[in-house]
Each structure stands twice: as structure tokens, then as C-alpha cells.
Symmetry: C2
Subunit: 340 residues, 2 copies
């Protein structure tokens, strides 16, 4: 490969290749299309020159005519939740394997969301993975555009949308079962942000099961998914109750970790001997020996694969009906809770 730009500073185009080979531009184009009818000889000659020139088809020009950008938007909100970056990387890899690129959209302030949506549409992405909150109106917008989209871990009641979820409620029920059968009687819950549907489901799932099992002492405090709020949540629980509960159920792992640290280092309480703590997500640090958290791990690999397939299927076939795929989490018994 010698030149990669022409003398005039422009990128090499299929015309340049065509001229050099002495064939038509359409011939060159065909050579780069997998199933096209081109003679072996032609393809060989064209590819040779293309290679020498460093020619690569311009994906933007292609998109314009094919009306396929081979790009998918992934929208994530800036979260304290350690878990999302992993999801992002996995999504990118799954898409990449299928020849689709990820265009990244991160929300800092919720208010930016309108600007953001305009951007998403402008870039003509073939689909959208939503790992951020979205209002009903915004969903309407997406639907009107006819762009396939799938929610990642957020479900909308009364809405037939594509979604890939981990079963938050089931997971919490398992955790509660495990704790109650192991003799815990008084419970503290540290919830996530109120506007997070995941958090709402988790808290609700736990509360529901605690009620079914006839547990009387249940106190809920509000957190925001952060380490600090896990720590302060524990202190708040102690204040409210006048003493510590037997077990604290946290809406995610990071808060559970904050909670454990507060118990040990601020209150001098032994975990799990004097206090059991459980989380949710199965992030990397949950397995670190200092924490060894009892938690429910989300099957990230399978979930991202599902999200990717659902989108790409609907890019091919837009008329496919909405689908919701719910995956069970994996209960991980760790040393952060006294378990029978």
C-alpha cells in the first residue's frame, strides 16, 4: 500500500480504482459486494489495485443509498453503577461480531435527552439500545420513526416494547427466601433512586416476599446506587430502628459494599456475624475477598446477546412484534450473609 490519498488530498474512491484497472466504477463497487456477479479475474485485478491504493469503500456513501448505516446507538446514563460499563463493552463486542458499530450516547443530565434524541435520528442509526430512562413521549417518538429499539433492564408497564431484562423480582425473592430460611427476622432495605425502574422492582420484589413470609420488621431507606449511599443508608437504618436489623438488602452491589464497609469500619459491627448484607448485580468487586457478597448475578453475556439479536432481527424485519425476554439471575451465596 503506497498512497492512501490522492495528490489532491482527497481520499481514494472507487473511481480512482476503476480508472487504474481500466474498468467501470460499478464493477469496482460490485467487487466489494459479497454475493455479486463478478468474474474471478476482474475481482482479482480490482482487489489488487484497491489494495495498492489503500482503497476502502466509503461506508457513509454506502449508507446513503442503502439506507442502512450499520450503526446502532447505545444510550447509557452516567451511573454510579459499576455494572454498566461492562454491559457497554459487551454490547459493543456482540455488535462488532455481526458487523455493526456502536455509536455511543451518554446522558449526564436528563434534560439533555431531547437534544440527544435528535442526534440519534440524524445519524440514521439502524437501531437503539436503551440502557437509560425514557419517558412515554420519547418512546412514542422512537416508534414513530420506525427505528427498532430495545430496552436493557427497564421494562415499561402497559407498553409493548422490546426489552431484555434480568428478573429483578425473582432475584430479590430468592435473596429474601435465603435470608429468612437462615433465621433473619428484622430487615433493612436500601433502595436505589426512585426513578429507576430496576430499583423499584427490586425493592418491591423484596418487600412482597417479606410480606408473604410474614416478616414483621421491615424498614426501607432511600439510596442512589452509590457506595456512599450504601454506607449512609446503614446509618440511617440504625437511627430509625434504634438498632441494626438482622439483614440489609441493598438494591445493588455497590451499595451493599458501602454498607458492609460502614458496618465494619464505622460501627465496628461484624459482617456476617452480627449483620448480613446482600446486593444485586454480580459486579466484579462483589467477589473480592473483602466482600464476598451474597448477590444475584445478572447473566450479562446472555442478556447482551439477546439485546443484539432482538435489534438486528428487527432491522431485517421491522414488522416483528415486540418481545420481552426476561432472564433469571444467578444466586451467589457469599460470606456477606449468615446462610444456613
Amino acid at each position: 500500500m503506497s498512497d492512501v490519498r490522492r495528490r489532491d488530498g482527497h481520499r481514494v474512491t472507487s473511481y480512482d480504482v476503476a480508472r487504474l484497472v481500466g474498468v467501470s466504477q460499478s464493477a469496482v463497487s460490485r467487487c466489494f459486494k459479497p454475493g455479486a456477479s463478478v468474474s474471478k479475474k476482474m475481482r482479482a485485478r480490482v482487489m489488487k489495485v484497491a489494495d495498492d491504493l489503500g482503497y476502502q469503500p466509503n461506508a457513509i456513501a454506502r449508507s446513503l443509498i442503502t439506507r442502512r448505516s450499520n450503526m446502532v446507538a447505545v444510550v447509557i446514563s452516567q451511573q454510579t453503577n459499576l455494572y454498566y460499563p461492562e454491559v457497554l463493552v459487551q454490547l459493543s463486542q456482540r455488535f462488532s461480531e455481526r458487523g455493526v458499530r456502536v455509536l455511543l450516547f451518554t446522558l449526564e443530565h436528563e434534560s439533555d435527552i431531547d437534544v440527544l434524541y435528535n442526534q440519534i435520528f440524524q445519524y440514521q442509526v439502524d437501531g437503539v439500545v436503551e440502557a437509560a430512562r425514557l419517558s412515554g413521549e420519547q418512546i412514542d417518538l422512537m416508534e414513530q420513526r420506525g427505528i427498532p429499539f430495545v430496552f436493557y433492564n427497564r421494562s415499561l408497564k402497559d407498553r409493548r416494547v422490546n426489552a431484555v431484562c434480568c428478573d429483578q423480582i425473582e432475584g430479590e425473592r430468592w435473596l429474601v427466601n435465603r435470608l429468612v430460611e437462615s433465621g433473619h427476622e428484622t430487615f433493612g432495605l436500601i433502595s436505589g433512586p426512585e426513578d429507576s425502574s430496576v430499583s423499584v422492582e427490586r425493592t418491591q420484589g423484596a418487600l412482597e416476599r417479606l410480606k408473604e413470609l410474614d416478616v414483621k420488621s421491615v424498614t426501607v431507606v432511600l439510596g442512589d446506587y452509590s457506595y456512599e449511599s450504601g454506607a449512609s443508608g446503614l446509618l440511617e437504618l440504625k437511627n430509625k430502628l434504634g438498632k441494626l436489623p438482622d439483614a440489609v438488602v441493598c438494591a445493588n452491589d455497590v451499595m451493599a459494599i458501602g454498607c458492609m464497609d460502614a458496618a465494619r469500619y464505622r460501627l465496628g459491627v461484624k459482617v456476617p456475624d452480627e449483620l448480613s448484607v446482600v446486593g444485586f448485580d454480580g459486579v466484579g468487586p462483589a467477589q473480592w475477598q473483602s466482600y464476598d457478597l451474597t448477590t444475584v448475578r445478572q447473566p450479562v453475556r446472555r442478556m447482551t446477546e439477546a439485546a443484539v439479536s432482538m435489534i438486528l432481527e428487527r432491522v431485517e424485519e421491522p414488522e416483528l412484534p415486540p418481545e420481552k425476554r426476561t432472564f433469571s439471575g444467578i444466586l451467589v451465596d457469599g460470606g456477606s450473609a449468615r446462610l444456613a
Copy 2:
């Protein structure tokens, strides 16, 4: 906003808007260009209709003619290093503020890199942020294409390339100074992967300073940035030395954390009383109370800002000479080391 696609199923174009308003298509186009000369009245009428129709200029068509995609590729390799996802999110936000989108490229296997580069070029990105390894040949390729690129935390000797770095060597020297002046005499080092330039610099920086300070007992073992390798690294050090060193210098925080946990939970050794541990990066978990790590924090905000500016400046002005910006880290004294 009522229709967002026309009856024929195609997206709304500037022609549709123009027809409805009764003006030319170029007029519509101008209305969406910030500094263009359009009368207030015209703009108002056009915008009204555009809004009703849900018209948004097609960024792909625009890119084709302007030769600006307003997209930048960010290449990251799948790292165990917790630190990169944060960098990614920050880059995305900095670019986003300046109207540029991030097209994400994640490498799983190094071998994929050629395919990947073709992809990057095909998408006509305006620039590339490299947070992954890159061979000399690949750099040649980038340079031939004339696409501005900047390395994030990797410097290439003997190469005039754009780079934003944290001063790894200086940081390690600080850490060593701090440990030596606090009375540590025997040292263990857990390095990162050998093909990571960051790791090489860190290890080398520490070794260099230890030598200058005439420290006799220095043992190096190989890690891979992971929690587990931090843990096994400590065990290996103990094996090699027959006892523990006074201090372990780890090439990143995650390994330092693994090392602390191994000390406490596998060897029953008190940190920092019997062993000092230091890391590098300043990731979130380093501040968790269980670890309270002495480390050097990378100024991620400033570094990402620098990377974004450097790229965008060179998109505007391709002739700018290569520049290397090195930022000092921030020494964080934590409870993981006995410090004077």
C-alpha cells in the same frame, strides 16, 4: 409532530419540507445551518413545518458532501483495568459537548486489529482516540490516511505522535519516595502485562527511583492488571523472598486491592502494619474503606479534555505538529501504607 415518515415509508427529507412550505430545498438546508443568511420569517416558517413533520437533517448525507462525519473513533481493548470504562464515558461526554459522536471500537483479540482498522476508515471518522496498543505499522497507516489521532496513556518512543499521558514515572517515583522516607527497606513489585507501555513505565519508574535511593532488596513479579494476579503476585513474592517485603508496589489499583486481600485473608497479615501496599490509577474502589489505597490518581477529567481538544484542533487544522501532553498524577496518601 404528527408524521415522521412519509406515506411511502421513507424518512422525511428537506424536499418534503420545502414542498410544504413552498420554498426551495436549499432554503430549508440553510435554515438548519447556524450562521446562514436566512430571513427570520423564512426560518420561522420552515422550522414550524420541519417540526410538524419531524424533519431532522440527515447527518450521513451531510457528511458525504462536507467530508466531516462529526464522528470520532475510540478504540479500547478489553481490559481488566476498571479504569478504562470511566475514561470512555468521560471521552464520550467531552466530545458530545462539542457536537461530536463517539463510534466505539473494542478489541477482544489483538489479531482483530486489522479488520478493525479497515472499519474505522470506512466510517470516515474525523479522528481516532487510541487507548489500545498499536504497532508501528498501524501508526504508519493512520498517518498515511491523514486522520488525526491521539494516544491515550501510551507513548511511543522515537515517534512524533499526539499523546495524552499521565506521568507514570513521576508518579511511581513519588510513591517510592514516600515509602522509603517512611522507613520501608525491602520492596516487592507487581508489574502489569509486559506489552503494556503504561505498565513498563510504571515498573521502570519505580525501579529507577529505588536504585537511586540505594534500596537493595527489590523483587519483581509479573501480573496482568487483574485482582487475581495481584493476589497471586503477593504469594509469589513471598515464595521468592522467603518472607514478605516491607512494601508492595503494584502497577495498578486493582492488583493492589487483590494484593491487600491476599495479605489479609490468605496470609493473615495486617495491612499496613505488617505490609504496605500501593497502587496506581485512583479508581473508585481504591477509596473504599476496606482498602483506602495509597495511590496516584490520574487526572481523568483533564486528560480526557486534553485528548478531545487535541483531536478536534487537528480536525480543523491538520497541519498542526504532533504534541505530547503529560499530566502529573495526584498522590493520594491512604491507609494501605505506613506513611510518616
